[in-house]
């Protein structure tokens, strides 16, 4: 399919347009990947150039600067203090002292040195003269080395950045003084924290939290994927050492059956079910939610508030209560089987959670029960925003209710909620609660090579519950969990990328302001 001009594109039917966009997306993939590499290349080129410029500037400032500036190269903040900016100077000096203390006495240098080997000597029993007995001496601990090594690298980068800022400040201060203007006082600095630089003040706390509790752990876990770290290798008592293994873990995942365990098959099966689950969970909720919202909003339907309130109960009550309870309702000796038996419909209990296909259908159906109310709320809000004259004019033109729905309501909804659909698809892929609390991932896969891939892999396991099972079962193969985590990231990122480039409604955020 080839399209010369925009006019031709506009003439296409909706479905063709979509197809065209999809095709052109896949055609553009090689170019995009090339572009991606080019962007990464540009990034590093700019980085190197920037560092080069920075170094030149640092040298030039040193050569041209006065003695105060020169001394600041060793004692950070000296120039600030000497020129009367005491607050800034003290902050710089304090940071330098903390950094030096950490590097020398806090073990910073040790962790950096050990990062390559992740520790040489594990815990050993040594004779303690004071206690007159053999005690365990911890020595190197790979987990600590990796963790604090990562932290130290972050810290060193932060220090270098601050050092550079300190030099730049000296340069600027000299220029300002030369032009005869006064420097900013500490009071000015404090005032700017709530005014011109207010955004920095506001972001300081949230970004520190994200850096320490999200970025750092993810960085760490990506590194773990290249080690052989599991609970046995680093239990904190007898063993404390693990090492780098390169791409060994990725090979394990993609190697097929080894020693009776087939990680590739397990991964493939779980990934497929994850995608199927996410698809059904998203779209059943979406369409049924819209449908319910339209029913409740229909003219002439009374007690609108009551219906909504009843449905919202599943949002109001914590999921673990409702999901665990419903899961038990469908157990072998649960309420549902009991009721069906006493009604004489069945004579033997239905094993809802023990039959693979039935368990899969059950989690999707129960997820509808949990999910419809959200969609109903969202859809209600959007339905009210659809211009009423659209419906009136279409009614005059003789459009039926179904036509109105398929030509006005649905396209409008889809356009507005496109990004929401994407996020709900990806969050359904990672919907731990529903699966874990309902079926626990079970029933266990009948193929021992698959179920043996960490902690009884089952038919309703998602990648995320598999990850959980890997880390909590027996050996706690953290290295495999990290590999799975990285793979989850790749899958989610690829899906998001595809959907974003096909989606019509990627809007400019400034439009709303």
């Amino acid at each position: 399919m080839k399209i010369q001009s925009e006019m031709e594109y506009l003439k296409l039917s909706k479905w063709h347009k979509f197809l065209y966009r999809l095709l052109s997306f896949f055609k553009a993939i090689p170019k995009k990947i090339g572009g991606g590499f080019a962007a990464i290349g540009r990034f590093f080129k700019n980085l190197v150039l920037g560092i080069g410029r920075g170094c030149r500037d640092i040298v030039a400032t040193f050569v041209k600067g006065d003695w105060k500036t020169k001394l600041s190269y060793v004692f950070m903040g000296f120039g600030n203090i000497a020129r009367g900016q005491v607050l800034r100077g003290v902050m710089f000096l304090l940071f330098e002292l903390v950094f030096l203390y950490y590097m020398i006495f806090g073990g910073g240098v040790y962790y950096l040195r050990m990062l390559a080997s992740l520790g040489l000597q594990g815990p050993s029993k040594e004779y303690n003269e004071i206690l007159d007995q053999y005690t365990v001496v911890p020595h190197d601990n790979s987990f600590r080395i990796l963790l604090y090594g990562v932290l130290t690298i972050f810290f060193v980068i932060a220090f270098l950045y601050t050092w550079r800022a300190n030099i730049r400040q000296n340069k600027i201060a000299e220029e300002i003084l030369r032009s005869g203007k006064p420097l900013k006082s500490g009071r000015d600095d404090l005032r700017s924290m709530v005014d011109d630089n207010f955004h920095k003040t506001l972001l300081a706390l949230p970004l520190t939290g994200i850096l320490v509790f999200t970025v750092m752990p993810i960085f760490f876990m990506i590194l773990v994927a290249f080690t052989n770290y599991n609970a046995a290798k680093n239990d904190g008592f007898n063993n404390a050492l693990f090492t780098w293994v390169g791409f060994e873990n990725f090979k394990t995942i993609f190697a097929g059956e080894v020693n009776g365990v087939n990680y590739s098959a397990a991964f493939g099966e779980i990934l497929l079910w994850t995608l199927v689950w996410a698809f059904f969970a998203t779209f059943t909720n979406y369409f049924l939610g819209v449908f319910v919202a339209m029913m409740i909003n229909k003219k002439g339907i009374k007690l609108k508030k009551l219906w909504r309130t009843v449905l919202i109960l599943t949002i109001a009550i914590p999921q673990f209560i409702s999901l665990l309870y419903v899961s038990r309702m469908f157990a072998l000796n649960g309420l549902v089987n009991g009721a069906l038996k006493s009604l004489g419909i069945i004579s033997q209990s239905i094993d809802f959670w023990g039959t693979p296909t039935l368990a899969r259908i059950m989690v999707i159906v129960i997820n509808i029960w949990i999910g419809i109310p959200y969609l109903m709320l969202i859809a209600t809000g959007i339905l009210m925003n659809i211009p009423a004259d659209l419906y009136e004019s279409s009614k005059i033109d003789g459009a039926s209710g179904w036509k109105q729905f398929s030509k006005i309501t649905l396209p409008y909804m889809l356009f507005i909620t496109g990004p929401y659909l994407l996020t709900s698809f990806t969050s359904n892929m990672n919907n731990f609660n529903v699966i874990y609390l309902l079926s626990g991932g079970g029933p266990t896969n009948t193929n021992p090579a698959i179920s043996g891939a960490a902690g009884a892999v089952g038919y309703t396991d998602l990648l995320i519950t598999w990850l959980f099972k890997i880390t909590t079962s027996g050996e706690s193969k953290y290295y495999l969990a990290s590999v799975v985590g990285i793979l989850v990231f790749i899958v989610v990122a690829v899906i998001s990328l595809i959907v974003y480039s096909v989606l019509p409604s990627v809007k400019n955020e400034e439009d709303f302001q």
């Binding site: 963790l147 509790f213 002439g300 209560i321 309870y325 309420l335 209600t380 985590g485 302001q513």
Partner: protein
């Protein structure tokens, strides 16, 4: 004359037909809605009924208790349940306060300020969000353990609060969308009058943003009540250190045929659900506003 009357009758008939068809479709809708309401309510009615059952504490196949009583609620007091409840309540309060502050800081800044790294920051957080959060949990647990903040040391509340709150800045989307709808001209007018950026936030934006503040507090407060994964990890299944979700799940985790804490679970579930649900229902309006706004603005 008669022709006219026929036409009028035909119109009448058509009108009546429309009315009748509307009535039929409304009836169908009512039937569906009533059926749905029943399905939605059944589990909650059952859990309440079973929590009053005295004759056995096992799971059974019938709903109406043969013998009514408050035994299960009394027995709750002799278990770790009050401790779990207290743990969760403290966490919920702390998270509601701290998380709200963090989310508002983040979303307000990203909505109002145009600084150099803004776009990059937002993209970076989008990418970060694609990593499964559970991955971070493995290491955070070890770190909390090193800091003596895990369940092994008897109290997981401070550690869990830290974990819940620390990365909450990433959930800025909904409130940023709300801030985006407050006209920027308000800020500018105040700035012209000499207000600092901080004063603009406290005196002008926050009063206008009351719905989204309440929405943020509500969702933050409800988070710890339902959290299962992190609480399980950090508490290390040490009974005193659990929250309600992990604790109540541990009562059901054993084999369904043999475990006998089933009615106790029901009673505990009711005690947890009622205050949370009541609070939610009272603040429902704000929740709806936040959810719909969030989805529309992306």
């Amino acid at each position: 004359m008669s022709k006219q009357r026929d036409e009028a009758q035909a119109v009448m008939k058509q009108h009546m037909g429309l009315k009748a068809s509307a009535r039929i479709s409304n009836t169908v809708i009512y039937v569906i809605l009533i059926l749905m309401s029943i399905i939605w309510l059944i589990p909650f009615v059952c859990i309440v009924l079973q929590s009053f059952r005295v004759e056995s504490t096992y799971q059974v196949g019938y709903v109406i208790p043969k013998q009514w009583g408050l035994d299960n609620y009394k027995n709750l007091m002799n278990t770790n349940f009050p401790k779990w409840y207290l743990n969760t309540f403290i966490m919920a309060l702390a998270v509601a306060v701290i998380q709200t502050i963090i989310v508002l800081c983040m979303s307000y800044t990203l909505s109002r300020f145009r600084f150099k790294l803004r776009q990059g920051l937002m993209k970076f957080m989008l990418i970060l969000g694609m990593f499964p959060g559970m991955l971070a949990m493995i290491i955070l647990y070890r770190v909390l353990d090193d800091l003596h903040l895990s369940g092994q040391y008897g109290n997981s509340v401070p550690g869990l609060i830290l974990v819940y709150v620390a990365s909450s800045g990433m959930g800025y989307y909904v409130s940023k969308g709300f801030f985006d709808t407050i006209p920027k001209s308000l800020d500018e007018a105040a700035r012209v009058d000499g207000a600092t950026r901080a004063q603009v936030l406290y005196k002008i934006i926050l009063p206008l943003a009351k719905p989204i503040v309440i929405y943020t507090i509500l969702t933050a407060f409800m988070g710890p009540w339902g959290d299962f994964v992190f609480a399980r990890y950090v508490s290390q299944m040490v009974p005193k250190a659990m929250n309600v979700a992990v604790g109540l799940q541990s009562w059901l985790a054993t084999d369904t045929m043999t475990h006998n804490n089933y009615t106790l679970f029901c009673a505990g579930g009711v005690v947890v659900a009622i205050p949370v649900a009541v609070l939610f229902m009272c603040l429902q309006r704000y929740y709806v506003e936040g959810v719909t706004g969030g989805a529309v603005k992306g």
